[in-house]
Amino acid sequence: MNTKDNLDNNTVSEEVKKKEMIMFLSGSEEKEHFLSKANRKLLTDPLDDNNPITVQVLGICSALAITVQLKPAIVMSLAVVFVMAFSNMIISILRNSIPSRIRIIVQLVVVATMVILVDQILKAFAYDVSKQLSIFIGLIITNCIIMGRLEAFALGNGIYKSFLDGVGNAAGYGLILIIVAFFRELFGSGTLLGYTVIPEAVYSAGYEDNGFFLLSPMALIVVGVVIWVQRSRNRKLIEEN
């Protein structure tokens, strides 16, 4: 529901839409500059106007539980950037040879392979972070944002564009993750990336860490507030109801 409405509501100008339609129909990519305006838009749009979490409502599932501290949130964002960029690219390469009836299974297999790669790499080089993220690395497979972009974008666009779209959306997702983790770690334990940032003087003046920020409900409320701030700045995102 939300997702679709929002995608429709997008203020992509008619011009761009027409161009995309022509490209989609002819199946060929126009020759254009490496970082042309349309390509840049693919990268920057998901950061604000079309943010995966706050606007498209995709990919919240595996995101919020790992935002207690900043470090796992950053690692998670990087993992999602990697998985998304490359699965988008692979599906885009294969898009003309996948029978549409079994495309979901094909997509799941590609994504799962990427996730296994990330999981094994993390286990080998950053074991403690991988323990902290526990099952949430595995849950990238069912992260709706990945399936959503594969369905909505990679199946109908060229390789380079799909790659950019993957990076852009994963960055938009990571941005929210990092904002939420920043506030939760700052207010919850008074640290950032494990280093104490709130000076001792503040504590002796009577300030205390708000342990409530470490509990899961606060993640939801912080995201709610992020959405509130974003929408009051960007009023065209406001919903009717």
């Binding site: 529901m1 939300n2 997702t3 706050t54 409502v57 995709l58 990919g59 919240i60 599932c61 595996s62 995101a63 919020l64 539980a65 979901i104 299974i105 799941l108 297999v109 799962a112 392979t113 996730v115 296994i116 999981d119 094994q120 526990s134 099952i135 595995g138 849950l139 497979i141 069912t142 992260n143 709706c144 399936m147 509990l215 899961s216 409900p217 606060m218 993640a219 939801l220 409320i221 995201v223 709610g224 507030v225 959405i227 509130w228 701030v229 974003q230 929408r231 009051s232 009023r235 406001i238 919903e239 009717e240 109801n241």
Partner: protein, 204 residues
């Protein structure tokens, strides 16, 4: 008694939505009306109760280290656990397909009611999450896995039913414009999660 304990724990204390944020996407997307919420909730209960025990069997007899000894003692060293994700997701995707076909054949009315929600469930994080948590918990038998799956499904059902009912009512309230829709839903979910936290520590 162990089983009852596990059952209540998986419904209330380790609630999929409120404690682990699993299944959030469909939770937010399908909770506009109570009717659709019930449809999705029922489908999730069903699929979780089936896939968790099946994945338990696969985990115990194929994936764990030394799990293949029933084939031949030479395999005691073999550890296939790196295949977990791909096996579990394949099982889930095919189970969902199977469940869909069975329901269509034997209960067309239910199939009509569940509609598009059945195929959507394959990519619902709550389902894969259920199986992955099952693997971490080292259950001793398939009955525990089954009870855990059923309980988690019911937990999801309660959560989505609650938020759908609240959202139907909140449509008449005067919410600040930028907070309408998604924002207020997030905050209410947070408040509901605080409510569910009060079950913490209950031991039957």
């Amino acid at each position: 008694m162990e089983l009852v304990n596990l059952f209540t724990k998986s419904i209330f204390i380790e609630n999929m939505v409120f404690a682990y944020f699993l299944g959030m996407c469909s939770y937010l997307a399908v909770s506009k009306t109570v009717k659709t919420a019930v449809g999705l909730g029922a489908a999730v209960i069903f699929v979780l109760a089936v896939t968790v025990p099946v994945n338990y069997l696969i985990d115990t007899y194929f994936l764990q280290q030394g799990a293949l000894t029933w084939l031949s003692p030479q395999f005691a060293e073999v550890d296939l656990s790196f295949l977990t994700f791909i096996m579990f997701i394949a099982v889930i995707a095919s189970m969902v397909q199977l469940v869909e076909m069975t329901v269509e054949k034997f209960a067309p009315a239910l199939y009509g009611a569940l509609g598009i929600f059945l195929p959507l469930i394959a990519v619902n994080c709550a389902i894969l999450g259920g199986s992955l948590f099952m693997q971490q918990k080292d259950f001793i038998g398939i009955h525990e896995a089954g009870v855990y799956g059923l309980g988690s499904g019911i937990g999801f059902f309660l959560a989505i039913l609650g938020i759908a009912a609240i959202r139907e009512k909140i449509a008449y309230s005067n919410v600040p414009a930028p907070l309408k829709g998604l924002g207020i839903t997030f905050i209410i979910t947070g408040l509901m999660a605080i409510g569910f936290m009060s079950f913490m520590g209950i031991d039957l």
